[in-house]
Symmetry: C3
Subunit: 261 residues, 3 copies
């Protein structure tokens, strides 16, 4: 199958970032504390307003007033399954489009996999993960090392298409080349940089970016593709100036904030 | 009302930073995990020793031995209301001056607002927030977008003065120009940099800085004013060298650590 | 006692980093949210794969499949004592060597000290802390300021040797000069940089590094010594280019990622 490629050079991609910078949506997420600070800075860098965490007395309220939301399964390191379900339902119930990021699915812990399917049934607009996670969520036998995928994006193509078709969600697979599919139409997003895999929580931050794009009134397919292509471009630029992995993170946020849409 | 302006050029402001660098107080806080790492590095950069988190078996002990403390309402994303109250009481009971940072107050979640008032009744030395939060805590109708204020500092002046007068706490409002008031005397702190609003948790970190200044034996008004003016100066300097929002954060901590008092 | 010194110039030290870059072990930790993001980036910088947090449904599984693990006592700011014990037992039961980092021990909270001894009885391969923590864990009267040591490494020598002898663990004390001992053989690791004490969570990150080295099939003594000497060298290099404390952190991660073993 020859798939279309999308990159930052595509004007439709650039227009998605312009939409975010104009809408500046409140973007609410449940995520893990390894990723939270960086995810917030990713969201701010593209022009949206992040709020993060299952804060007592206010979590469902934030999910209902947000433009877009994301739920990262690794939020379970501090939040309860009930809190995740409650926020997912508050988002779904108030028409807030949301992203499911199935971290750790397919890593060999069946109750995590089951719980991810419970969230999937609540109806995310986008599911975003690495190849192992998407294969695992689609019911296949994934291979992984903890939270890192050892499967390739190519191996994830069929499972991703099937998952999109069965769930109704856009499915996005990040890897050396990213894949976005709605079950019928699929596109590839090349670019990025090898250093993305040598710093923590860039995938988690990508989930937050997709939520910011969703919150800007974009179609879920365009939101997912736009967010992935934006991060890929920022990473490619950051990789040209970074000395090592520390300065790469700093440059990555710089480039996200500086991209001219 | 013509208000006095305070800036880094004021020798009384510089002397507050000198006090912190000399006292090096243990500064203990409950905060949220988005802000925690950066808040600790802010506190270390001015010369104090941070400790953060509602650690089992030791939280009240840390609050009681600290020079200064802060309680950021967004700590509720991992801590219970009871833990926040317990630490506030331990601080109050042992004479540790503390800062209340009413994150999310006024955002439309009434139980958060009620809980903030419960903490206020325990007697913080300083209340520090953005305009929406201070208006909300003072009982007014605030406007906000999640955790970001959409009210202006000018709109917060009257509510801040009233809140200070009724609570006995110094009230600090951060914004394009910061406002510090004890209910009678009010000062403005200009400076800072627009990029402060494009990176996460700088307000949370400012709450931690006020606690470090309080822990250095300064009068609460001087502590609040000194901390705000220090951050404003560091941000102005950082803004002159930053490329984008990533390098701004790095430069901000650098400048805090390099300021010659 | 004249102790042997180990530095990055020692080829046996360099070979430990080479072992990590070859083995790329899954390294699993329970730690605190102040340290988590930076600890993950430390682990990635030396070539290993980090996973962090007491994630529901999967924590014991991760501990059992990991190459190495670490438990930082300050994880108690979000995790329960039972979760820490459960992960320690899962690691011990499946032969995953693990590091105990007794943060806050000796700070005057006796129940923390008791709980650290309960974890010690489960059999960590390495205990790593600052002087106050090691003195406290060994049963001595430590002095500290919150989470920062006010005792010197020299004062920790005898307690560290005794603790290693009684527990069977390698004991590592970080300070101006680091000390590694198995109760019989002790070595000193000079170097590092003063700025390590002016940024948060570098000690916590060192615990994570030791776990990555343990996960690479190294003898626990060599793993502890290698991780300490690697961080000391990276810090010395970072200190030569940093402007202030913000850029020091960035440079530290850069140097960890760039070290040629």
């Amino acid at each position: 199958m020859a798939l279309q490629e999308l990159t930052w050079e595509d004007r439709n991609v650039r227009s998605t970032l312009r939409a975010v910078r104009t809408a500046q949506p409140l973007t609410y997420g449940l995520t893990n504390y390894i990723a939270a600070h960086q995810s917030a800075n990713f969201v701010l860098a593209v022009g949206a307003s992040p709020a993060i965490g299952a804060i007592a007395f206010a979590a469902e309220h934030l999910a209902s007033i947000a433009g877009g939301a994301w739920i990262n399964l690794a939020a379970l390191i501090t939040d309860t399954p009930e809190q995740l379900v409650s926020v997912a339902r508050a988002a779904a119930g108030s028409g807030t489009p949301w992203v499911l990021d199935p971290v750790v699915v397919g890593a060999g812990a069946p109750r995590i996999d089951d719980f991810a399917r419970e969230l999937l049934a609540i109806g995310p607009a986008v599911v975003r993960g690495n190849a192992s996670e998407i294969i695992g969520l689609a019911g296949g036998a994934a291979t992984s090392k903890g939270v890192d995928s050892t499967a390739t994006p190519e191996e994830a193509l069929e499972p991703a298409v099937a998952l999109a078709a069965s769930s109704g969600a856009i499915v996005a697979v990040s890897g050396e080349v990213d894949l976005i599919t709605d079950g019928t139409r699929s596109v590839l997003i090349p670019g990025g940089h090898e250093l993305l895999t040598r710093v923590t929580a860039t995938g988690c931050g990508l989930g937050a970016l997709v939520a910011a794009y969703l919150g800007s009134g974009l179609d879920p397919f365009d939101a997912a593709a736009g967010a992935h292509a934006t991060l890929a471009e920022a990473a490619a630029r950051a990789g040209r100036t970074a000395r090592g992995t520390g300065s790469f993170v700093t440059a990555l946020v710089d480039e996200l904030s500086l991209l001219e849409a």
